[in-house]
């Protein structure tokens, strides 16, 4: 049995189709990533799976329970960390933890072994009001609270948004260790670089799933030759390269532009065509998840 099974799940808000017949499943103990930009429908999917919303059509089961009919069973089995910090700012760290433990009918110390690696870092501040914690500490407390009742599944909606790079990396280390405890984790992120830390990822955009695979598998889907090009005038390069012969696509990618070669592309010919640009250089590049995403999105 899969931890999560989603069959053609749809949800609209007025005219906006937030989720459009999405289907996928997540295996037990898997760390599954939903990768996509804002407005891709990630939060809607989380709110559906955590039974905060009901779908317009389609079905889904979480831990074998239907999200509409067995919503109460799901609530005691999952941990949810919403994208927006939503613990009580006027309660202390300790009080928040005890409070959420009590709502699930457990005591905080019963789950201490599970949350210890995370909670230890904020324990020195346990008598501090939650509203006065730093962003990274809030995030750790939120994760501790989501884990306090030893859920079998963890839903994390953009847990690393607005967190610095070091804390982000630490956070993914924590997720990896939680996975060791057999917890299934569904996590969403707008950062493509975090995708490689997942077992499998789903690329989503505008309420649809563009592709599901392991991070490596996704990258391997990129079958066309990819080059990184640069020149001193990057903007002129972009428009010139798009007009050049045999160029399927060219888009800004960090400090360089990524150029996807189509049929009949030849490096020498390309260099000749753009020779009026200063400092022009081109070299082969390894495709990333972002390249795949852009490619799938254009399709």
């Amino acid at each position: 049995m899969n931890a999560i099974d989603i069959q053609r799940l749809s949800k609209s808000f007025g005219r906006v189709r937030a989720l459009d017949a999405v289907s996928f499943s997540v295996g037990k103990g898997e760390l599954f990533g939903l990768i996509g930009p804002d407005g891709a429908g990630k939060t809607t999917l989380f709110r559906l799976l955590t039974t905060l919303l009901t779908p317009d059509s389609g079905t889904a089961t979480v831990d074998g329970f239907d999200i509409v009919n067995d919503y109460l069973s799901i609530r005691s089995r999952v941990g949810y960390m919403p994208g927006r910090f939503s613990l009580y700012p006027d309660l202390t760290v300790e009080e928040n933890l005890e409070f959420f433990a009590a709502l699930f009918g457990v005591r905080a110390k019963e789950s201490y072994d599970l949350i210890a690696p995370i909670y230890k870092q904020i324990e020195p501040f346990r008598t501090r009001r939650t509203g006065k914690l730093s962003g990274g500490m809030k995030q750790k407390l939120a994760l501790s609270c989501a884990l306090i009742h030893r859920p079998g599944l963890l839903f994390l909606d953009e847990p690393t948004t607005g967190v610095d790079a070091v804390s982000r990396s630490e956070f993914w280390d924590m997720l990896a260790s939680l996975k060791q405890n057999g917890i299934t984790i569904l996590v969403s992120t707008p950062y493509m670089d975090e995708a490689s830390r997942c077992d499998r990822i789903a690329l989503c955009n505008e309420g649809r799933i563009l592709g599901i695979d392991t991070p490596d598998g996704i990258v391997r889907r990129f079958d066309a030759p990819l080059y990184a090009v640069r020149a001193s005038n990057m903007y002129a390069l972009l428009s010139a390269a798009r007009r050049a012969e045999g160029v399927a696509e060219c888009y800004p990618f960090g400090e360089v532009h990524h150029l996807v070669a189509g049929g009949g592309f030849d490096i020498r010919q390309f260099m000749d065509q753009l020779n009026e640009l200063d400092g022009l250089s081109i070299k082969p590049a390894a495709p990333t998840i972002e390249d795949v995403f852009i490619k799938l999105m254009k399709r």
Partner: protein, 367 residues
Amino acid sequence: MRTFKVLLRKEFLQIRRNPFLPRLIVAFPILVMLIMPLIMTMDVRNVNVAVVDLDRSATSRRIASHISASEYFSLTATTSDFKLAMKNLEEGTVDAIVEIPPCFERDMAAASPGRISITANAVNATKGSMGIQYLVQTVSRTLSELNTEKDPVGAAELITVQNRFNPTLNYRHYMIPALMIILFILICGFLPALSIVGEKESGTIEQINVTPVSRFTFTLAKLLPYWLIGLFVLTAAMCVAWAVYGLRPEGAVGSIYMGAILFILTISGFSLTIANFSETMQQTMFVMFFFIMIFMLMSGLLTPIDSMPAWARKITVVLPPRYFVEILRSVYLKGASIVELWNNYIALGIFAILFNTLAAVTYKKQS
């Protein structure tokens, strides 16, 4: 049960830690009970009266001296010039003029006296009409005194006035029960609605909704603290009314609490319904303000329902505070009991059921 206790404890913690709520809960009743009754008075005092004495007799002097002796009036002038007095009235230095016609005393002895005329500035309608009433009473009392002196047997007072239930016509005694209701509306109506919408705004309700806690448990834990605070404030207000204004309920205290509990249920159900429909605290505030204005002005809190136009009286039927006002005033001033006021209790009971059902129906944990 443990869940409920924990929720309740959290609610009290939050109220205590709120930067302004504890102060509001303490300061507001004190302000309302100690200061408002001093300000909100419709008693008419310090009416400036000019006596235009064209008679210049013992009788006319006696009338003037009675007027000046009254605590309601201050005699500003005794002249024989009506035009001057009228000018003063127009300027506002005089509120009322008593004109005693010439030869009044002599004609009175002949039993065909001329008429004493009273002219008042009625721009402030209450002051004008009340002033005239007091003046009429004072003057007629003086005249009947004179009659009695002359003919102790034959002359009897033509009219006797007795103010039942509020013998001194003390407006405060009329107002204090109403002020207690205003406290209730704010503490048991306003605050829990704000608190619930506050959780919506901060997103914490989302975190609660993914737990197995039922919405009923959560809402009850939200309301109970405010119910307790409301009853505590009512008790304190009743003590203040007794200690400071010497006002104690003529009827049973139990019938006040009975009405209070029904009213609390009604008003919290009402506020929950508003909370269900609002997304932000600002929205809640505006909607609540709207209704509180209607409650204050149309429930007979400040002005009697009986003197409203017929259409407005019909509207008051659907305003729950109206019934609690009726209960509180009747128990306090008339010593009425539940048996006599049963229809008000029933009405509140119906409203309590109605609003709470509405609140339950409009509550959405999922959408």
